[in-house]
């Protein structure tokens, strides 16, 4: 009877120093797969390695030997004795290995539930192993299924919906204020990291006009160049605020850069056209009272985090639906396959 075995670690079971050591980069992967195939006990093998997890899936006739090979392989690869790394790994077999894989593909096991990358990474790992002729009927079937489950969860639940990072939350909000971003202008005050990231996301969603203001003009010019934008002197920000639909402020000024009175003046000048203010500064750059002005929408870092939290909660409740899909798919897949018995006591989940 064939056994599917999984030896792996992830962000929950191991700290980053260990995950780094266990990581198989693109270039190392080929050799690693070849190395695994050398083991007599291992019939089929596949390595899924991302920054948050490294998982080795094998199919073997001999459970005990198969497992021994896996330990041998990973301790050699990490150049650490088995005894030292044992505590970071989990071992799952047959049904449990498959259920785990389905969860991973459904991004239920991800650090950020519902993130979209993992399904692509599972696919890549699968294609890579198939190219190298490392797969047989068993791993082929479960990975095929896993990719289907991943897609199913994505289409049938809202697990990937809702921004969960500051910069994407800002994009999501701007799309609920503005009908289209293409004819909108964004003014960024200060050259902070999150600010830059937000502008980058905005321009990938269609924003064409980017204006950058910074105390040091050189920095503003550098940033403006990256987005084919325009750099302006810090003193002139009020002339440009009138023209901008989205203003991102991330300066380290000790006082408000934009007061409520400024915002009110700007609104009169722009005939009440909606204005989205994003305050990424710490201490805050924009007077919170500006939010009370009609057609002004002000979000600071905490507000954006609150949006992310709400979305995350939404994702968690969607995750329950996703888990049900995964469970039913595991049952279905089990019927298709002829797997070895599952010994619960051998399955260690940390």
């Amino acid at each position: 009877m064939m056994n599917i075995q999984l030896l792996g670690l992830n962000h929950k079971s191991a700290p980053i120093e260990i995950r780094e050591k266990a990581f198989f980069s693109e270039s190392k992967l080929e050799a690693a797969l070849a190395g695994l195939k050398e083991y007599k006990a291992i019939e089929e093998c596949l390595i899924l390695s991302t920054c948050n997890r490294t998982e080795i899936y094998v199919a073997s006739f001999d459970r005990v030997n198969g497992l021994g090979c896996l330990w041998d392989f990973i301790s050699r690869s990490m150049a650490m004795p088995e005894s030292q790394i044992k505590k970071y790994f989990y071992i799952l077999e047959n049904k449990f290995a498959m259920a785990h894989l389905f969860q991973v593909a459904a991004s239920l096991d991800s650090m950020i539930i519902g993130e979209t990358q993992i399904l692509g990474q599972v696919k890549d790992a699968y294609f890579r192993a198939r190219e190298k002729n490392c797969l047989g009927r068993n791993l082929n079937t479960i990975f095929d299924e896993a990719i289907r489950v991943g897609k199913k969860v994505r289409t049938q639940t809202q697990i990937g919906k809702g921004a969960i990072s500051t910069s994407t939350a800002a994009i999501e909000l701007s799309r609920k204020i503005f009908e289209s971003l293409e004819d909108k202008k964004v003014l960024i005050i200060g050259a902070g990291k999150i600010g830059e990231l937000t502008v980058k996301n905005l321009s990938s969603r269609g924003i064409k006009t980017v204006i950058v203001a910074n105390r040091t003009l050189i920095k503003a010019q550098e940033l403006a160049e990256r987005f084919c934008g325009e750099a302006i002197k810090f003193e002139n920000i009020f002339d440009y605020m009138r023209l901008s639909d989205i203003i991102i402020s991330s300066t380290s000024a000790p006082h408000f850069v934009i007061t409520a009175a400024d915002a009110a003046k700007v609104m009169r000048a722009r005939n009440n056209a909606p204005l989205f203010l994003i305050d990424l500064g710490l201490p805050r750059n924009i007077d919170p009272a500006a939010n009370a002005i009609e057609n002004v929408y002000l979000y600071n870092i905490d507000d954006l985090a609150q949006v992310c939290d709400a979305n995350l909660n939404q994702r968690r409740s969607e995750a329950q639906k996703a888990q049900q899909i995964v469970d039913s798919c595991v049952e279905l897949a089990l019927k298709k396959m002829n797997l070895g018995g599952t010994r619960q006591e051998e399955s260690i989940i940390k």
Partner: protein, 276 residues
């Protein structure tokens, strides 16, 4: 096999209810196919509805929108027409989510009241009837649509301002879109209402010998007209938009409802054809 008029009308109610359910599923699942289903069902209902309205006119041998029954049914017919044009233009299935329940309540209300064919008052047997009534109902339908956009706007605006995001947040369109479409609906409604009032006075001159007689319906139509004039003036001169406009559109809708139903029942006058 023949069906009675009532049976076919019940089927019409059924079609609108199914369409409303389709739109409900569209709203909750955000799947376009449900929106399309809602639209197709509403369209089939509307085709049938057209037949029924035409049938009543044939029976009356005149444009027959007199009495509460005819009036409710015709209003529903116009609302569905207007929302379908709007959705067809902007290609989003959001109007129906709010309009269909309204259309359903109108036809459902109509289906439980007396639909007997009663003789049409002689004064209403005029070609002006069709022009005047159709224009007025078109304006009512546009204001109803504007009201729906206003409700969505207020809702979405509140969530954005309070930074509390719930299930509706993802389902409602952008504020700018809601504001733009609400404004457009008011512009059309205002034009239709103006033409409706003008056509009414011309008809009044022919039928009653005077352009204007300060009958309650006329007075309230004028109030309604001024209200939307304020809306448009505010938008164009003082750049009111968003919440201010949305609030006005909601008040306008309330005044419109009173002009349509309230006046007919509470303030008898020359226009009290609904209660007769």
């Amino acid at each position: 096999m023949t069906f009675s008029y009532q049976t076919i009308f019940s089927f019409l109610v059924f079609l609108y209810v199914s369409s409303a359910i389709g739109y409900f599923f569209f709203f909750t699942t955000q799947k376009q196919k449900f929106g399309l289903l809602g639209f197709v069902l509403a369209f089939s209902g509307w085709i049938l509805h057209t037949g029924l309205v035409a049938y009543r006119c044939l029976v009356f041998k005149s444009f027959a929108v007199s009495g509460l029954y005819e009036s409710l049914s015709f209003f529903a017919w116009v609302i569905v027409l207007v929302y379908m044009i709007s959705e067809f233009r902007h290609k989003q299935h959001i109007d129906g989510v709010f309009v269909l329940p309204l259309a359903v309540s109108l036809v459902a209300y109509a289906s439980v009241i007396n639909s007997d064919i009663r003789p049409l008052p002689a004064v209403l047997r005029s070609p002006w009837m069709a022009v005047h009534v159709t224009l007025c109902f078109l304006s009512y339908a546009c204001f109803t649509l504007a009201f729906c956009f206003a409700i969505m706007y207020i809702w979405q605006e509140k969530e954005l301002k309070s930074r509390k995001i719930d299930v509706f947040f993802f389902r409602l369109p952008a504020l700018e879109f809601l504001d733009r479409l609400g404004y457009r609906a008011v512009v059309f409604g205002f034009v239709f209402l103006s033409l409706g009032i003008v056509s009414g006075s011309i008809w009044a001159q022919k039928a009653w010998g005077t352009f204007w007689s300060w009958d309650p319906k006329e007075t309230f139509s004028l109030i309604l007209w001024f209200l939307y004039l304020v809306y448009l003036h505010g938008r164009l001169i003082a750049f009111w938009r968003g919440k201010k406009s949305a609030n006005l559109a909601i008040i306008g809708f309330a005044v419109m409802l009173f002009t349509y139903l309230g006046v007919s029942f509470l303030l008898p006058g020359l226009h009290s054809y609904l209660s007769k």
